[in-house]
């Protein structure tokens, strides 16, 4: 199958940082090295023949229990970008190791990255370098653990908290 323009351009521009690309069911996906995520997103956003001006979604996946096939890195941060001008979507994925789940923040590029990255930190415990205020968003400060990690139990209780002074 022919590779889409976006993936081709990414390969040309960042030959060293693209780990893999595929287009399952028409969704263009590029797996990239985490150190280059901000550069790649800036390129996708600012290059005039791509102009991905929307950060549609940002989330993560915990591959701890994935055994079909097992992954070497535990986490993957997933970005969905959309270009209004060319009406095209692309998915960027950046694998992170369990020992160091850290990636650079996209807040300088999109304002919405602020909240999305907070949610990602809240749910997966992934740290975003350069984020202005990385704190929990859906859960409360005293919550222990990150619930969307696969090793977070389904049942159990969190410690009760009293009113704040």
């Amino acid at each position: 199958m022919e590779e889409s323009l976006t993936l081709k351009k990414l390969r040309e521009r960042f030959p060293a940082s693209i780990i893999d690309t595929h287009s399952f069911r028409g969704d263009d996906t590029a797996v990239v090295k985490r150190v280059d995520v901000v550069d790649i997103c800036r390129f996708l956003k600012e290059s005039p023949d791509l102009s991905y001006n929307f950060l549609m979604d940002l989330t993560a996946v915990d591959y701890l229990q994935m055994n079909n096939p097992p992954k070497t890195e535990r986490f993957e941060v997933v970005y969905h970008l959309y270009s209004i001008k060319y009406n095209h979507r692309v998915r960027i994925k950046a694998p992170l190791t369990e020992a160091d789940p850290t990636i650079d923040s996209l807040t300088p590029l999109w304002a919405v990255a602020n909240w999305l990255e907070r949610e990602c930190w809240d749910m997966f415990g992934i740290r975003f370098d350069g984020h202005p205020d990385l704190k929990r968003i859906l859960l409360y400060e005293q919550f222990e653990g990150h619930p969307l990690r696969k090793d977070y139990p389904l049942t159990g209780r969190q410690p009760l908290i009293g009113p704040k002074n």
Partner: protein, 402 residues
């Protein structure tokens, strides 16, 4: 000037921190805002969400694909069928299957009815928060008729229809549905006319909404706004037009856009979208082909109840689909499917590992992105303007907090 400064010192004037919500009538019980006030002007603000967080994604990752449907109902609970269809379409995309034509038409009709109820609720409620309780009651009258239609079709009223099945819908439309829908639309059109008379040129309403909570197109895109909030700034992005799904490419409709991106434009865009949705519905009702309403594939769709109780093969098939570890199993892969929800792009990102449960199910809630920009909308305005601004962005807790 000097006199004012002295006065300020003597009167001990300082900025005040105010917590607005969550138990504030305008905050829907699901939002807390920390406001930094100078007199009545909002200097800075911080929005706290999460009061309605129920672990939607975690729950769905531990349920089968069919069991997740009822949880999608409770995302945007004012237009639940759109969430249903969006989720089902994501799973169908994983399978790589296409639903029958009639099913697509039914999905379009039900989505649009839901969109109308959502917009009616939003416009009505935000007008009520400004004191226009009559407008609210009129709109609820129309919504009630539409909810009755949904009840006829799905069995559940408004919030919990769970009408979709992966690969189809639960049942065909009932007898006489077309006539009753047209009747309901007649009432809705009358109501809209009355609302236009009550609000559109109403001095109080215009003063409270025009130029309030305005945002530019570039900023709105940076905040990831979609739906009426983005279109009110002049960007004509609508998933139904940009990437047509179901049979929206066969429908004739327009995407209304505003210019200023303020509360008034959001109101006008929603009012016009109701008209367009009715247009789509009417076209779909008249051009709907006969035929099956679900895919004929025993690995994906359930056999009909009549067959389950009457045929042994169907009974076995039913058991197979419902037994633990035997349900529907999409092939390994990942997909992102977007539909146009009432508030904007509603996306489902599903990863399958080939088992009967989604390995990862992520919902892209349009409200979440819009809420991230609410601070920007209210900063610099008056405290009282928070109420119409917050009302017009249509925050739905179930979707925002999941």
């Amino acid at each position: 000037m000097e006199k004012t400064a002295t006065l300020a010192r003597e009167l001990n004037i300082r900025e005040m921190t105010l917590h607005m919500g969550p138990s504030h009538p305008a905050m829907h019980g699901t939002i807390r805002m920390f406001l930094e006030l100078d007199g009545e002007t909002v200097v800075s603000s911080d929005v706290e969400i999460g009061y309605l967080h129920r672990g939607f994604e975690k729950t769905c990752e531990n349920r089968t694909y069919h069991q997740a449907i009822i949880y999608t109902d409770r995302l945007n609970y004012v237009s639940p069928l759109i969430n249903n269809f969006g989720y089902a379409m994501a799973v169908e995309k994983l399978f790589g299957v296409d639903v029958p034509e009639r099913c697509k038409y039914i999905r379009v009709i039900m989505s649009e009815i839901c969109r109308i109820t959502d917009h009616l609720t939003n416009v009505g409620a935000s007008a009520m928060e400004l004191g226009a309780i009559t407008a609210f009651l009129y709109m609820i009258k129309a919504r009630e008729m539409l909810w009755k239609l949904i009840e006829e079709v799905a069995g559940g009223r408004g919030v919990t229809p769970s009408y979709v099945r992966i690969g189809g819908v639960k049942d065909d439309l009932p007898e006489g549905f077309q006539g009753r829908t047209l009747e309901a639309f007649k009432v809705t059109r009358e109501v809209l006319q009355e609302i236009h008379g009550l609000l559109t040129k109403n001095r109080i309403f215009v003063d409270r909404t025009k130029g309030v909570g305005a945002i530019t197109a570039d900023e709105a895109m940076s905040y990831g706004f979609t739906g009426p909030c983005l279109r009110s700034t002049g960007v004509a992005y609508d998933v139904r037009k940009a990437q047509p799904y179901m049979v929206y490419d066969k429908m004739n409709f327009e995407v209304p856009v505003g210019t200023n991106g303020d509360n008034y434009d959001r109101y006008l865009v929603r009012m016009e979208e109701i008209q367009q949705s009715m247009r789509i519905c009417e076209q779909a009702l008249f051009s709907m082909p006969p035929g099956p309403i679900k895919i004929d594939d025993p690995r994906i769709t359930f056999p009909s109840k009549k067959d389950v109780y009457g045929k042994m093969e169907s009974l076995i098939n039913h058991f197979k689909l419902f037994m633990n570890g035997h349900g529907i199993m999409p092939p390994k892969g990942e997909v992102y499917q977007a539909v146009e929800g009432a508030n904007g792009e509603l996306g489902f990102y599903v990863i399958s590992d080939g088992s009967g449960r989604p390995y990862r199910l992520r919902c892209r809630p349009p409200c979440f992105m819009i809420m991230s920009g609410v601070s920007r909308l209210v900063n610099g305005g008056m405290v009282a303007d928070i109420v119409p601004t917050f009302g017009s962005v249509n925050m739905i807790g179930g979707e925002c907090d999941r």
